[in-house]
């Protein structure tokens, strides 16, 4: 028999007491876990919403007559002036954005660097099947990262240089279907996909790879605009815009003000408030555990006296109580995680409409650590005090 076995036997005999002590731990961890789970789900929802907003930084040629974000583009209208941005400046913009975003996120490790999508575009007007169509040259990969809401309705997304993607209305008006071969200012392209209706100007556009557009319209090395998506609460979009304006000549960077950002800040506040609440609950739980442990120790003054009379040192007594606290912590932590997660499923939809709560396995570890720390801390003081009682007194108190 070893000390922990003795403790285990004692726990079995005093089940109810131990469960009672556990309850305090469970209530504390449960609250923390449910709040964290709910706010994580809420955050996920807000991030999902943010995706719908697309770019939050637009880089245009320094002299340009039109305002992109306002849209209002008529089908077939030529809206791009003769001013372009040299393509090499795209990488300068990318460099500045990445540096500032990673700095803001506190990422120093090169391998973990966050890369904000930077999508250059070239706008041109062309006549396709007898109608005037706005053709947009895009960096297919980067564009996709920004237009996360794009869904290819028919066919596939573009990746080869001779492929084209048609907006829903363009396809409808011109009677395009995937597989159709078109002539774009003398360059042969194949429509490989048709986008689902987006409700934006994209429905009236045709998309081809940037290089293809540059070739067809004789704009080699030129782009009309660059969309950047630097989306995070900490991302200093306005600072990035200022920096781009200062460092890169011939361009005008505009930060797009977003409701999403406000929402994100709101979310942060709510999170902080809830965490504070969780902390208070945990503290109250700690108090409850200290209380039950005090009682539990007091009830066992005689047992402690016996153990010491037959040769237990103070350390061994404290150790026995810590073992018990670890059991309380482990079981309480698991229960706290399970109940907290279930609670999150119940209260999550009440706090944030339409969120989907998922359980977070990593929080089990967090829950265990919290519960064990609370249980051990709550036990240390009463256990320490118990060993200060003189052995003779521990028998007399009965």
């Amino acid at each position: 028999m070893r000390l922990h076995q003795m403790v285990a036997k004692d726990i079995v005999r005093r089940k109810k007491r131990v469960l009672y002590a556990m309850l305090g731990v469970v209530v504390g961890t449960m609250t923390v876990i449910s709040i964290l789970t709910v706010s994580l789900a809420g955050e996920a929802k807000i991030y999902a919403q943010l995706e719908e907003y697309g770019a939050n930084l637009v880089v245009l040629p320094a002299i340009s007559q039109f305002d992109l974000e306002l849209g209002g583009l008529e089908l077939g209208a030529v809206t791009v002036g003769e001013n372009y941005i040299p393509e090499y400046k795209v990488s300068e913009v990318r460099q500045i954005t990445d540096d500032m975003v990673n700095h803001a996120l506190g990422i120093q490790d090169e391998r973990n660097r966050y890369a904000a999508p930077v999508a250059p575009r070239l706008y041109a007007s062309a006549t396709v099947k007898g109608a005037s169509v706005q053709v947009v040259g895009i960096d297919a990969v980067e564009e996709r990262k920004i237009k996360t809401w794009w869904r290819v309705h028919e066919g596939k997304y573009i990746d080869e240089s001779d492929e084209a993607l048609a907006g829903a209305w363009v396809a409808e008006l011109l009677g395009l279907s995937s597989g159709e071969v078109l002539d774009l200012n003398g360059v042969g392209i194949t429509v490989v996909g048709i986008l689902k209706e987006t409700g934006s100007d994209d429905d009236y556009r045709m998309f081809v790879p940037l290089g293809t557009a540059q070739e067809a319209f004789g704009k080699e090395g030129m782009v009309s605009s660059v969309d950047v998506r630097a989306l995070c609460t900490a991302c200093p979009v306005e600072d990035i815009a200022d920096e781009v304006n200062m460092m890169v000549s011939g361009v005008r960077a505009v930060a797009v003000k977003q409701i999403a950002m406000t929402e994100m800040t709101m979310m942060e506040r709510v999170n902080r408030f809830m965490l504070a609440l969780a902390g208070i609950t945990l503290a109250v739980g700690l108090f409850g555990v200290v209380n039950t442990m005090m009682t539990s120790v007091h009830e066992r003054i005689r047992d402690i006296g016996i153990m010491r009379a037959v040769g237990a040192s103070r350390n061994q007594i404290v150790k026995a109580f810590i073992y018990e606290a670890i059991v309380v912590g482990v079981v309480g932590g698991i229960l706290g995680y399970v109940v907290g997660t279930l609670l999150a499923f119940v209260i999550g939809p009440v706090i944030f409409e339409g969120i989907s709560v998922t359980y977070v396995p990593q929080y089990l570890a967090l829950s265990l650590v919290l519960a064990i720390v609370v249980a051990v801390v709550a036990t240390l003081y009463p256990a320490f005090r118990a060993t200060r009682v003189r052995v003779a007194d521990s028998f007399r108190s009965l």
Binding site: M1, R2, L3, M6, K9, D10, V12, R13, R14, R302, D303, G305, I306, M307, R308, A309, V310, G311, A312, S313, R314, Q316, R390, V391, A392, D393, F395, L398
Partner: protein
């Protein structure tokens, strides 16, 4: 082996001060069997607790094998409880969640050495309780519990056994059996100091000390 020199013990202070022991001296040699008698409140248990290091005297000295133990710190007292001195209490003081044999193993467990059940089983056999090894205290009679407590005291092979009214909670017959057990242990070489109310039991002891109001009234 053990000497108690002019030991006094007070509880409380000022006008509420109670004198539990007043200038008590005694001497225990190897193989002695000493009975301590006296009315309730005469300081018998206090004396035993002080000898065993469960309590500390307000004044005086306790010397065990040439070494003062009355002013030792807790850690040093632990060593004494683990080695030279063992206790048997009137209330048995067994841990209720452990079986008989586990209770007997307890001193070995705290000592950190060999905790295989063999030695504990030997001790239970010595007190005639090997068949009850897996019973919990609640399932044992008073006499049986006291035998377990005696086995627990013996497992550490102490030179001195302190017994505080070990038969106080028993009927005549059981009490006699327990007493016989003690006389046998005494013959085996254990020194014993036993607190008792019973003059017959005291008659079995080699030496009797009678306490009254914390003072030694007579020695025989």
């Amino acid at each position: 082996m053990l000497e108690v020199k002019c030991v006094s013990k007070f509880y409380g202070e000022g006008t509420t001060r109670v004198v539990a022991l007043d200038d008590v001296s005694l001497r225990v040699d190897d193989g002695d069997f000493i009975a301590v008698m006296g009315p309730s409140g005469s300081g018998k248990s206090t004396l035993l607790n002080i000898i065993g290091g469960l309590d500390q005297p307000s004044r005086g000295e306790v010397i065990l094998d040439g070494r003062r133990i009355d002013d030792l710190d807790e850690n040093a007292l632990v060593d004494i409880r683990r080695g030279d001195i063992a206790y048997v209490f009137q209330q048995y003081h067994l841990l209720p969640s452990l079986t008989a044999i586990e209770n007997v193993l307890l001193p070995l467990l705290f000592r950190g050495g060999d905790t295989r059940p063999k030695k504990a089983m030997d001790m239970l056999r010595r007190v005639g309780l090997e068949k009850r090894a897996d019973h919990k205290p609640g399932q044992l009679s008073g006499g049986e519990q006291q035998r377990v407590a005696i086995a627990r005291a013996l497992v550490g092979d102490p030179s001195l056994i302190l017994a505080d009214e070990p038969t106080g909670n028993m009927d005549q017959k059981t009490g006699t059996e327990i007493l016989e057990l003690f006389t046998r242990l005494n013959r085996d070489g254990h020194s014993i100091i036993m607190v008792t109310h019973n003059p017959e039991i005291a008659g079995q002891a080699g030496q009797t000390i009678v306490l009254k109001d914390g003072r030694v009234e007579s020695t025989s």
